[in-house]
Subunit: 348 residues, 2 copies
C-alpha cells in the first residue's frame, strides 16, 4: 500500500549539486554564483542562473548555516510584562519598523516573548547558544542584567530605550526629555501656571527622562517645582484616573496636566470631566506617544509623537551593522519628537 503523498515529492527541493550538474559546472562554481562572488566568468554565471531558475533552486539554510556559522536570523526579545504589551500599539509599530529594516537583507526575525522571568532564562539560553546572529531587546527595565550579560557572552545586542548601564551597549531612544519639555512649555505658554505630571514607573529611563523634561520646562519658565504635583505610577489608566483625583484634592486650581502616555492622558481627561472640569477650558492636557487613542477621546488629545517605526528600522540597521563589525564601539541613536497640538490643549 503506497500512501499517496504527492507533496512529499513536490517539496523535495533541488540542491546546489543539481544546479551545478544542470549548468555543467562544479558545485563550487554554482555556489559562487549563488553567493555573488565576483570570480566567476559571465558564461558560467549565466548557465548557473538559468539552472537555478529552471529548477526553482533555493539554498538550504541549515546547510549554509552549518558552514558559515551564521543563522541569518536575529532575535527580537519582548521583555515587557504582557498586559502593557498589547494594549499599546508601540510594540506593533516597532516590530513593523524592525521587519522593514531587516527586509533588505535576507535575515529572519525570530520573535521571543519573555513575559515571566522563567521565560527570560529560557530566552537567554537560546540567544547565547548562538542560534541567532544578534538580538534586539525591547522594553528592558533599568536594572535588567540581560543586555550586559548577552554582550559579555558575545551576542551583538541593540536595546530600545537608554539602559541604566549607559554606553556599553547600543541603543535607540527618542528624546523623551525634550519631548516632555516641549509639551509642558506649550502648556505654560498657553498661560497655565499649575501644571502637574503623571508618569510611569521610574525604573524606565523613558519615564525618568519625561519627568526631567517636565521639570526643565517649569524651571525655564521660572515656575516653582512642587513635588505634590509629580505622580509616579505604572502607566496604567486606572492609576492615572486615581492620580488625577488626588491631584485635584491637593491642588483644586490645577490648570495643566502632562501625562507620560496617551492612555494615561485619556484616563485623566475622563477623571477631570467626572469632577466637573472642562478640558481644555479649566485644565489643559497633553499626552505622549500619539497613539490611536489620542484621536478617539473627546476632546482629542494633544500629544508628543515619537517616530516609532523609524526607531525600529534604525534598531535593525544598527544590529546588522554590529553583527558585521562586532568590535566597533556601541552606537546610540536618539530620535527627535514632535509636539502635536489638538483639542485637549487648544488655546492652552
Amino acid at each position: 500500500m503506497s500512501t499517496a503523498r504527492p507533496h512529499q515529492d513536490a517539496r523535495r527541493s533541488s540542491t546546489i549539486e543539481d544546479v551545478a550538474e544542470r549548468a555543467g559546472v562544479s558545485r563550487a562554481t554554482a555556489s559562487r554564483v549563488v553567493n555573488n562572488s565576483p570570480r566567476v566568468s559571465p558564461g558560467a554565471r549565466a548557465a548557473v542562473l538559468g539552472a537555478v531558475e529552471e529548477l526553482g533552486y533555493v539554498p538550504n539554510r541549515a546547510a549554509r548555516s552549518l558552514m558559515t556559522r551564521r543563522s541569518d536570523s536575529i532575535g527580537v526579545v519582548i521583555l515587557e510584562p504582557t498586559a502593557r504589551l498589547f494594549a499599546d500599539p508601540f510594540f506593533g509599530l516597532l516590530l513593523l519598523g524592525i521587519n522593514d529594516g531587516l527586509s533588505d537583507g535576507d535575515v529572519q526575525l525570530v520573535l521571543l516573548i519573555a513575559s515571566a522571568s522563567r521565560e527570560e532564562a529560557r530566552v537567554e539560553r537560546y540567544l547565547e547558544a548562538a542560534h541567532v546572529d544578534g538580538a534586539i531587546l525591547v522594553g528592558p527595565h533599568g536594572d535588567d542584567p540581560m543586555p550586559a550579560r548577552l554582550t559579555r557572552s558575545g551576542v551583538p545586542v541593540v536595546v530600545s530605550g537608554r539602559p541604566s548601564g549607559g554606553s556599553a551597549v547600543s541603543y535607540v531612544d527618542s528624546d523623551n526629555r525634550a519631548g516632555a519639555r516641549s509639551a509642558v512649555t506649550h502648556l505654560i505658554e498657553g498661560g497655565r501656571r499649575r501644571v502637574a505630571t503623571i508618569n510611569g514607573t521610574l525604573d524606565l529611563s523613558s519615564a525618568r527622562d519625561r519627568l526631567t523634561g517636565y521639570r526643565d520646562a517649569l524651571q525655564a519658565a521660572g515656575l516653582e517645582l512642587d513635588p505634590s504635583l509629580e505622580v509616579a505610577g505604572d502607566f496604567s489608566p486606572e492609576m492615572a484616573a486615581d492620580a488625577t483625583r488626588r491631584l485635584l484634592d491637593v491642588c483644586p486650581d490645577l490648570d495643566g496636566l502632562f501625562a507620560a502616555s496617551d492612555s494615561m492622558a485619556a484616563a485623566a481627561v475622563h477623571a477631570l470631566q467626572d469632577s466637573g472640569r472642562r478640558v481644555p477650558d479649566d485644565v489643559a492636557v497633553v499626552g505622549f506617544d500619539d497613539a490611536p487613542i489620542a484621536l478617539t477621546t473627546r476632546p482629542t488629545l494633544s500629544t508628543v509623537r515619537q517616530p516609532i517605526e523609524a526607531m525600529g528600522r534604525e534598531m535593525a540597521r544598527l544590529l546588522l551593522h554590529r553583527i558585521d563589525a562586532p568590535t566597533e564601539a556601541a552606537s546610540h541613536v536618539v530620535f527627535e519628537t514632535e509636539l502635536v497640538v489638538r483639542e485637549s490643549s487648544a488655546g492652552a
Copy 2:
C-alpha cells in the same frame, strides 16, 4: 597584533563529540541520550547527562536540521495591511497566545509581515522553500489564494478566521455570528426597535458572519430588515463616524447600533454625541472585541469579547499536530464569544 576578541572563545560551544568523549561513550550514544531514545543504558545516560551539564552543551540546530529535515520553527504570517495591524491589540494578543502554545515544544516563532503584495510573494517563497515546518496565517481575506497554494505545496497551514474556500484548510475562528446575534438581541430586549449595524469589509468572513448574526437577531424578534440600516465599511473609525451621521439622516429615530469593532463603536458614540444624542438614553451602542478602548470611552462600551489569546494558543496546538500528522483531515475550531454589558447599552 592579536585583536583581542575574548567572546570568540566564549561562544565556541561544545559539540556532541565533546560530550561523548567526556562521557566515555560514542557520538551515537550521546546523541541518543540527547534525543531521549529509550535504547540507552541508565549508566550511559547518566554519564552523558553529566557531561552535557558540565560542558553546557546545546545542540547545534543547523546541524540537526540538516539531518532531520526539520527546522523546528514555524512561520507566523501577518497579512493585514499595516495600518489596522497595530492600532488593534488583536494581533498582539494572538501572537502572545501562539507563543504560549509553542513554548511547550522547542519550536521557534519566525515572524513574517507581508503588508505589501510584493512582500507577500517573498514570504510565500520563503515558506515554500521548507524553511519552516509550518505556518500560521493571520488575517487573509476571503479571496486570498495563499492558504490553498501553501497547502498544495505541502506546507502545513493553520489560518485565523474561516477562509472562503472552506474546509480544506485548518482554521480557528470565533463564533462571530452568535456573538453579533447576542449583541443585537441584547439591544432588542432592552426595547430598541430601530437597530442599525456598521461593519467591516465583507470579504472578511468575520465581517460577513457578524452581519448575518445581526440579521438573525432582528428576524428572531420579528423585526423587519432594513438595508439602509446596514453599512459595510472598512473597520476604520473615520468611516464609522461618517456612517453614523448618514444613518442618522436616513433614520433620525435610530435607537440602537451594533458596530463590528470597538474602535468603530467608539467613533460612532462620538458622532452620536456630536449630533446631540445621548448614549445610551437615545441610542444604545454595542461593539465587538472588548479592546482596551472599550473602557476608555464615555460611556464605557458594551461589547462582545472573543478569547483571542486562547485562539492563538489553539492555532499553535493545531499546527504542531498537523506537522506531526500531515495526512489527517483539516480541523476547524470555533470559539464561543461573550457579551459584556457596560454603560453604552445600560438599560438598553
